[in-house]
Symmetry: C2
């Protein structure tokens, strides 16, 4: 167990392997049947995520997942529960369904990854935590009815954790999205993954602002906006602001393919003139737009390890950054779907 | 167009933004309707992947994707075609189906990502490359019948490219997989994602070897193997070798949660005694096992940015490394399914 309010840590890992230094996620509790699962979460979300509680409970001989949820359900400093489950103790299923219903009815969110979905997975689970897996499809149906958010993959679990813990300060007003990228293929791929989201119709004013900011030659400005690789970081940022100001827009996806020389997004080096520490670099512009935004916004930077420093800068400022545009929009979609009545 | 045999590059990007320095993928041709798509691939697979040809063709006013495939189909130095498509020119669909059939019948592989899947995506595609998207489900069915490998997400496209270009030197003998991780939850999650793969039954000899290498206290050794965080890198490597030597095993997933102090996987630092340059560090051990393996093997290292140097070391040696165990096994599964008759 790791408890921020209690100020203690019973994990057995040295700090140089797992520093636990994220400034965000303080209103989240992670309850996991696997200790290693929490270790991967904390490592993958290093410098981002550090929950209020981390609880691992293994074979639940004494205390089950349900007992922990009951113990935490009245803590009004917790808005988000993140659960990794392998299975249940006999007769614990109904208690679990009841506590999840109470938590969700009180306006909090539960995100769940369930292992032991197939026959082979159930056997592996039995050998790991001696749990009964049950039927995954039935459990999923029951939990979805109650409003639990189900992650189908390990990536999706972390994607959902990003949006639900980093966007908790903004309340979306609706499902109309603005999509902006400097690459046409990202506009196409994002539009393919709208789910319940709808493409916003920009006002005349927004279109007029964008036409001044985008490279000349783009005659028909429409959503998704293909800004082309010629757009630089300051104009990219002003375009995002123009879209966020549009009353017809409820949320924003700001996507980006990094290797264009017009976008300052590399750390200083003798090989070139770029420096992400500049006030108008791509990460700094994006961070400013995100911090001023009163609507949910996610970022996609689909490019390789050379651009990790830009990503880390934005992540440390609390921006939910993804490395693929389809993952970014799907996570945002789930956030909007679960936050808009 | 970038051509390795021709020695020319008509991309407009400076080398400091996109170096193109991967040693692998020399028997692959990428044909993409979007230039930015190829840019993201090359950036994401930096220091890994550098195909024989990269061709972008946009609105295909003069030359269509089919024309490029026809031009390349007789090049016996190409085993793998990677296609990003938005849509077709009128009357080009049947020609495309015919050339893909000929390529696949000759024993080569085609991996395809298709954008413009939904109404909104089709509109975005029309605005990007003026293509007719057609019905995605119908196209997918037709192409799958012909043996084309369809990537449903941008991540999956890169995952498939990793396995098909980095495992091309090994021919799998069957579908029986060995799964080894130092975390029990990874065994459960991997077993949940077997697809057409089957869990191998280890021989008595293999079990006996493993029982000597794993921490004492693990009595029932079975596949998937949960090696616990106490296993160190040399024993991890010897365990992988024992599994690969088993005649009942056709392929291997070697998974790993990195923050255990028993696994040397951090670059040298004054803060600790680890150094991945040591001969028996985790990445060096894994690289040796991979290079000697005569069976397909994939690696998962599910941990954060601190462990990127270990990942880069393995990738530069040609090891297909994933950061999530479910993505690793699904990519391997597709490779095995398409390589075993």
């Amino acid at each position: 167990i790791v408890s921020r309010p209690g100020g203690y840590n019973t994990f057995f890992l040295p700090e140089y392997k797992l520093p636990m230094r994220g400034p965000f996620g303080g209103r989240c509790a992670v309850v996991s049947q696997s200790g290693a699962y929490i270790v991967t979460l904390m490592s993958n979300l290093d410098r981002i995520f550090n929950p209020r509680y981390m609880i691992t409970y293994g074979n639940q001989i004494d205390i089950s997942v349900t007992d922990y949820l009951i113990a935490l359900e009245d803590d009004n400093k917790i808005d988000l529960f993140c659960l990794y489950l392998e299975g249940f103790k006999p007769f614990d299923g109904m208690r679990f369904l009841n506590v999840t219903r109470r938590i969700i009815e009180s306006g909090r969110k539960i995100i769940l990854y369930k292992a032991g979905r197939t026959e082979a997975g159930a056997k592996a689970v039995a050998s790991h935590t001696a749990s009964m897996s049950g039927n995954y499809e039935v459990l999923k149906k029951l939990l979805k009815q109650r409003g639990v958010i189900i992650a189908e993959s390990l990536d999706e679990m972390e994607d959902l954790l990003r949006v639900f813990s980093l966007l908790s300060h903004v309340k979306p007003g609706g499902k109309r999205i603005g999509i902006f990228s400097n690459a046409g293929f990202e506009c196409s791929v994002a539009a393919d993954n709208l789910g319940v989201l709808e493409l916003a119709q920009f006002s005349k004013q927004t279109k007029s602002k964008l036409s001044k900011l985008l490279p000349s030659g783009i005659i028909d400005i429409h959503n998704p906006v293909d800004a082309t690789p010629q757009t630089n970081a300051p104009n990219y940022g002003k375009s995002l602001e123009a879209i966020l100001e549009d009353d017809g827009v409820d949320c924003l996806l700001a996507a980006n393919v990094a290797p264009t020389p017009f976008m300052e997004n590399l750390p200083a080096s003798p090989e070139h003139d770029e420096d992400i520490e500049h006030e108008d670099s791509y990460p700094n512009v994006t961070i400013r737009v995100f911090k001023n935004a009163k609507k949910p916004m996610v970022v996609s930077l689909n490019s390789g390890p050379m651009y990790d420093p830009s990503v880390r800068m934005m992540e440390s400022a609390g921006v939910p950054v993804f490395r693929k545009v389809d993952r970014a929009i799907r996570a945002l979609e789930t956030f909007i779907e679960r936050s808009v009545e």
